[in-house]
Amino acid sequence: MKFIFTRDTWQEIFGTIRKNKLRTAITVIGVFWGILLFIGLQGAAKGVENGFDMAFKDMATNSIFLWGQQTGIPYAGYNRNRSVRIELSDTYRIANQVEGVQFVAPRNAKGIFDGAPPLVVNKLKSGNYKVFGDYPVIDKVSKKKIRKGRFLNQKDIDEKRKICVIGERIQKELFEKDEDPIGQYIKISNIYFQVVGVYKKNNTDFFEGDNSVFIPFTTFKRVFNTGNRIGWMVIAGYPDEDIVAIEEKTKTLLKRRYDVHPDDERAFGAANLGEMFGKITGFVKGLKFTALIVGIATILAGVIAIGNILLITVKERTKEIGIRRALGAKPGEIRGQIILESVFLTLVAGIFGITIGGLLLSTLNGWTQSLEDFPFVNPTVSLEYIGMALGLMVVLGTLIGLIPAQRAVNVRPIEALREE
């Protein structure tokens, strides 16, 4: 192995490489493309993964939205098409009895599923906006970006305070530019509420946008006279729980409670976010895996191309190799030189590809950074992967180099010298 580190070995290798510039370039291009593709795809897949992670990081992704609808099957003396309205107490039941549930957030709203958006008035300005009655825990479902002031808290709930958190657009539409809305009073459905916070739109909300009003759940109940009914609830499972199972168990529990036929699929509506996100996660995983396979396959193809070209070269160099052997080159030295050549070319191509791939990814990152909603963040390739790719190339380069190397020493010197 010592010969790898001697200057003479490398001079011999550079000598042959320099002499065959074109073939060296062609050889290198194959592996170069392979590693470039490998790095590019891996980085892009990572970027997409990071993008999704970023977009959903402040969100309970393993969750279900659930609401009552109308029954589809007559049962227990009731007709079909009976309206089922879920109640506040169901949330406690579900939180306590269904396994794997982290928390349940009951919600009420005016202006999306039922009713017109209430009129909101500040002095001479007014507009119709959606109003949500929420518990503070809703912040865990989708993190609110508070720009000013604060979000709802437990005290607001307990004291049924008439306070509200408004969206940025409402501030723009109802307040003067230089006016601080915090502490001001606005009228919602003719009742005065004090503004305690302004929130900014985030990308992971479902209904709120930047033009909604949040008020305490208890206050909502009183103001809009909703009794114990709730519009819908968000059931969040612990991150690793099977969210589909949670949905099933929850529905079974509710069916029993509301005398709904066990097979009635219509009585309760649900949107399973967990399932959806599972698909996205699966997609990203698939993307990474595909990128890995395609990358490795391309590297493999590139290395095989190197092997092929070396084989041709060895054929072309039969005479030269014969001369070297007549002058005292041992078979091991010939073999070693050709294998080293193979590994060296592979590595040069690889390092070149990694560098260009890195530049490409950083350019791509620059472009996509300005696209706010595009789920593509920080496309990187871990050092482990790069190490793995380089290791793979050394191994493949050696293995593939063995073939031309053996071919080179299989020709007896006497025959090699006769070659014209």
Partner: protein
């Protein structure tokens, strides 16, 4: 230096058996200058290649500098070639992308001689064949005679015991041939053992002993009065 006894060699060509060497006996002492002659196809190159360990005999014994040459591995053969022998070919066989000095240094590289000494030695031997000024030229920039002189320098560089030359003047005109022979005579005068295969009687006359091959055996083996090449140069 070289002792050959009852050496046989045949080539198999399909079902045919071509018996080329049919019992060669040859004894060459240190410092001799021997030419091997014979008609085309008489087995001159075959004999020289066996002596050069590029090929192996079938039967008989061959001892080089008291070392029996038999059943050598490729590696052993390479080491012996490098240590004992210098080759000069009809077609020069220089490596075309290496300059004169690098070509001369090549056997030293395979001997494991350090760079610096390789460089010194290659220049020394190029000087000896009168090509010091051409050290950095590629073979393609040299004339045939110059190429053969580089090849001679290369053969000498490893300081071998025996120089083997297969028609060293075969590709050269008369004048250049004599120049090359002049060099070989100079080297032989310094005590180096040289074997030359040739067709040309005038070249053979410039050696000290002529071995005639015919039908696979030595037909004639005679010591001759050496004609000095310098008188023609």
């Amino acid at each position: 230096m070289i002792q050959i006894k009852e050496l046989h060699k045949s080539y198999r060509m399909g079902s045919n058996h071509l018996h080329v060497l049919k019992g060669i006996n040859l004894d060459i002492k240190e410092g001799e200058f021997v030419s091997i002659m014979g008609s085309s196809g008489s087995g001159k190159s075959t004999l020289l290649n066996i002596i050069g360990m590029l090929d192996e005999a079938e039967k008989g014994s061959y001892i080089l500098d008291d070392v029996p040459i038999k059943n050598l591995s490729e590696k052993k053969a390479a080491i012996y070639r490098n240590k004992f022998l210098g080759f000069i070919f009809q077609s020069f066989n220089l490596i075309n992308y290496k300059n004169a000095a690098e070509n001369v240094a090549l056997p030293l590289y395979y001997q494991g001689v350090p760079r610096k000494i390789r460089k010194e030695k290659s220049l020394y031997y190029l000087e000896k064949v009168g090509l010091a000024d051409w050290a950095h030229h590629l073979p393609s920039e040299l004339s045939g005679g110059q190429k053969q002189r580089v090849a001679i320098a290369r053969a000498l560089a490893s300081e071998p015991k025996v120089l083997l030359a297969d028609e060293p003047t075969g590709a050269l005109d008369t004048k250049t041939s004599y120049e090359v022979m002049d060099f070989l005579q100079g080297i032989n005068d310094e005590g180096k053992t040289i074997l030359v295969v040739t067709h040309e009687p005038d070249i053979a006359d410039m050696t000290k002993r002529i071995v005639m091959l015919k039908d696979g055996v030595i037909e004639e083996d005679k010591v001759v009065e050496q004609v000095r090449a310098s008188q023609y140069v």
